[in-house]
Symmetry: C2
Amino acid sequence: MMVLYGYWRSSAAYRVRIALNFKGLEYESRSVNLVTGEQTTPDFLRLNPGAAVPALVLNNDTVLTQSLAIIDWLDTTYPQPCLVPECPTDAARVRAAAMVIACDIHPLNNLTVLGRLRDMGQDEEARRLWMCHWMTKGLHAFQALLPTDETFCFSNAPNLADTCLIPQLFNAHRWGCDLSAFKRLTEIEARCLDRQDFANARPEHQTDALRETV
Amino acid sequence: MMVLYGYWRSSAAYRVRIALNFKGLEYESRSVNLVTGEQTTPDFLRLNPGAAVPALVLNNDTVLTQSLAIIDWLDTTYPQPCLVPECPTDAARVRAAAMVIACDIHPLNNLTVLGRLRDMGQDEEARRLWMCHWMTKGLHAFQALLPTDETFCFSNAPNLADTCLIPQLFNAHRWGCDLSAFKRLTEIEARCLDRQDFANARPEHQTDALRETV
């Protein structure tokens, strides 16, 4: 069985959980506690020298890293239901929206970035403003790329864009960002979280979350 | 003819120039001056609401954004020579390395991020240390993902990983980062820049660079 190394609050790991559930794939979940630094232990660094989750270990022991690269592999290997549309132009549009989140928002919201800002003397409120600044800017760009008349981001089924959006909105709620300008996005969020595949991937439903928050 | 909206110093636009040249595709280059804020003019926002370069306008007026999404489209539409290997596992490895740069380094090195840090009271030296911190960390992770015995990043020809690496190293030189730990990477850089496709894509060879630096 595939093994997913993740952490309940990592939004990159959350994306991969959604993709695995969306495709109905079974996997074993192993927790890497990013707060206590388990990602920098020698054992984990042998698995992923990038010291980050997610890492997906395949049945033949191949290790895949980087959430979007993992999702592309899943989509090629288990094509139905698809996460990236087959038409190249539609695929490029969906990928671009996903990358607004994966490249323009999420890297700036990372735990390591927050740690660095703290070390640079930025207090908690400055860090909260930093988080919300990039989320608000990025979510505006994301929303502008979507058609306005679809049930999910791009069509009547979720795809890669929704897979990136829902974990980013989890982060936005967590940091208290004002989402009143993003009604289209929070409506999509409600529809996604009504589905079993997205709901089962939610951070608060993961074993390590239950352990930490008891 | 395809039109590429870019800026000479944008490393994301540099990636797309490399990909277009690598595939021998002709395109018209239009400059968007990110320093004077041309990316936020109403005309450009109609093209890309994300207010960023690159944006590639296709012959049928379709606008593609986000460098990696554009490169995926180019690779699907003009498959030879390929930038992403056909084997799904090899593709996942190459994509993961590319994303270490595109997701873990470059977003933190962006001009808008530097502006935000300045507004937060961080002086020039603090900003330089910020740049080099993320580059050094990310380039270590990138280098650890590469095989050690290939001419380019993953094989005897450049691919998506090299396409992301060379613009990132341009940035590293520009910011004075110590690259002594990355001999494998600077060797690859020298080989890439010996090729006409990479050399023609270099920032300093673009029309807007020549105009600005005269």
